[in-house]
């Protein structure tokens, strides 16, 4: 006795189901439901019947099947390192990414890496049809790891440590941002300006150093190597570096202003200076870089250099989608530079009339 062809109720409806229900073929259903090319030329009443059937069956196109046929997943990958946590910088960029992706009906999937060098192979593994394009956030690439980059998936990089070949690279004009900030301090009357650097070797850190030095030179201020203090891009590093400097400089003159390579370092400075009893900005001005949320919650609020992180994230998505759509092949590395902007708040004022000594 043959079993009646009964759909198991737990299985989502397919195009074939809808077609059967509407008395048409699966691809007629495909045409009207999933907008295949021929959709416009379907008879109105057939169309109606199919729509009704789909509604009744709660039909939803299966993404995997569609991706397989289409070679298009409508999903963008975002890769970033996860060192215990995704940080403020990432969140800011990701906001822009998510916003732009949503505008284009694209999904965003996040891949977290422990280490750019080590995980280069995993990165390529992501490009296995589940994403249509890949955005690398602040990647630290080496010539070797570039080997592992996917061939068939367009890649775009934001704040890479070196321009990725065959890719568009987004960066901001950090050298200029640093230059303008130091210039601003000079115009306020500062002459003795310390720079707490980011991680030496990172391109972002080096560019800020260059901007700092160029501004000093342009103003014919002498370069005091003692005021170029190596730190790293974190609050902890800022605290440590400034503390050490103060400890070994007792009795000497304080810097009139401290230009920090990012807001995190600046926060560390504020903490150390407050603890040691120096008044900011009356005795020492302190400025940052990035304009993260944190810059507005310190007291005084931070004068800083704004990078348009969110806009950069959005633009990355736009460019990536363009490349996916057009199948654009990039041969030479391409670079897009975003402007930075000075944000003036309360942490920088003219220097004190009398020199302040380290105490």
């Amino acid at each position: 006795m043959p079993t009646p062809p009964k759909r198991k109720p737990t299985r989502p409806a397919t195009l074939a189901d809808v077609g059967r229900e509407a008395g048409v073929s699966a691809m007629a259903a495909s045409a009207v439901l999933n907008g295949a090319r021929t959709s416009s030329r379907t008879a109105p009443e057939t169309r109606e019947r199919i729509l009704k059937a789909a509604e009744r069956l709660r039909y939803r196109p299966n993404a995997a099947a569609r991706a397989l046929a289409d070679r298009r997943m409508n999903t963008l990958g975002v890769a970033a390192v996860f060192e215990g946590e995704l940080n403020q910088y990432f969140l800011e960029v990701f906001n822009g990414v998510v916003e732009a992706a949503a505008r284009h009906n694209q999904n965003t999937t996040v891949f977290t890496l422990h280490d750019w060098g080590r995980d280069a192979k995993r990165l390529a593994g992501f490009c296995d049809g589940r994403i249509d394009g890949l955005l690398l956030i602040a990647p630290l690439v080496s010539h070797e790891s570039l080997e592992h980059l996917p061939d068939h998936t367009p890649v775009i990089a934001l704040h890479a440590n070196m321009p990725l070949p065959k890719s568009v690279n987004l960066e901001s004009d950090e050298e200029r941002g640093a230059f303008e900030m130091v210039n601003h301090l000079i115009s306020l009357g500062h002459k003795r300006i310390m720079h707490l650097t980011g991680n030496r070797g990172l391109i972002g850190a080096e560019r800020r150093i260059q901007g700092y030095q160029r501004a000093l030179e342009a103003a014919r201020l002498r370069r005091d190597d003692n005021l170029l203090v190596e730190a790293a891009f974190s609050t902890e590093a800022g605290i440590k570096a400034l503390r050490q400097w103060l400890a070994k400089s007792r009795g000497k003159q304080m810097p009139e202003a401290i230009f920090c390579a990012n807001d995190g370092i600046a926060m560390g400075c504020l903490e150390v200076l407050a603890a040691a009893g120096y008044k900011v900005p009356q005795e020492v001005s302190v400025v940052g870089f990035d304009d993260t949320i944190a810059a507005r919650t310190t007291a005084p609020q931070l004068t800083t250099v704004r990078q348009p992180l969110r806009a950069m994230g959005g633009q990355a998505v736009e460019i990536l989608l363009e490349r996916i759509r057009e199948h654009t092949t990039i041969t030479a590395p391409q670079t897009v530079v975003f402007p930075t902007e000075l944000v003036l708040r309360g942490s920088a004022t003219p220097p004190p009339a009398q020199p302040v000594l380290v105490r």
Copy 2:
């Protein structure tokens, strides 16, 4: 003249390609490369040949094809509203999600909604085979929108405004957290304690209000309706609410402490108070709720109520994966409550000896 069977170099290699290269069938390749069941029983030298061929061809399994055959995408969806930006709360939860997902070799894709009510249908649209399970972050569901929830994809909710039926619901004991925080302020000597609320009507906001009021009552402090100030769960709302309150209260006594419904509001308070020249915590104590990263980046750092957001995100993933694996069907809503915890930092101290006036 027949064209030689030449692979187009732009196409990623498939199992068939690898099989051909190694002189075996596609499914032999499948067995050793993609770990199908039979993999263990492949002859060592065949195995070796296949591995070599795959390496040479840079073979990568196509995720879409695999998902279609498997009915398993190895991807989890996370849905959250995006009102201009993903906030710290989301970031914190997402950290836990990402971490747990990575541990299980699962991807995470983010779906952003404008509005829970309006986008209920889109939500179901996501459950089209591209994800295996869906995590709703702080969803605002209605009985009606529940209709649209997917039938074939397990769902789990974090901080839902009402327990979702057929789903596991994760929440934390916010009433108790609020109670303990206000109680702590009282034990420091505060009597005049303001509460800046979250969005009225949201269960999380109401629970914090209840905890606040219960603590005042328990200490027999009179309830001053003027100090229960309606705001919403954002920094901007905190700024606006406190500014308005200050503007209409000139000459009156400042609150000794401000209990904010979340850290974002507290950050807004710090900003307003810093701008207006009030010293925190010497003149006013400010405390938050959530213990997001931001709580540690403010100056002073925030005393706050810790919700184990990250752990909750991680746990959500674990439960979801369990449900996917087991095909567990849930009939009655299930709820898991996480404890909160007081985190003492610098933003709350005993009240000033002399009352401070609004200036």
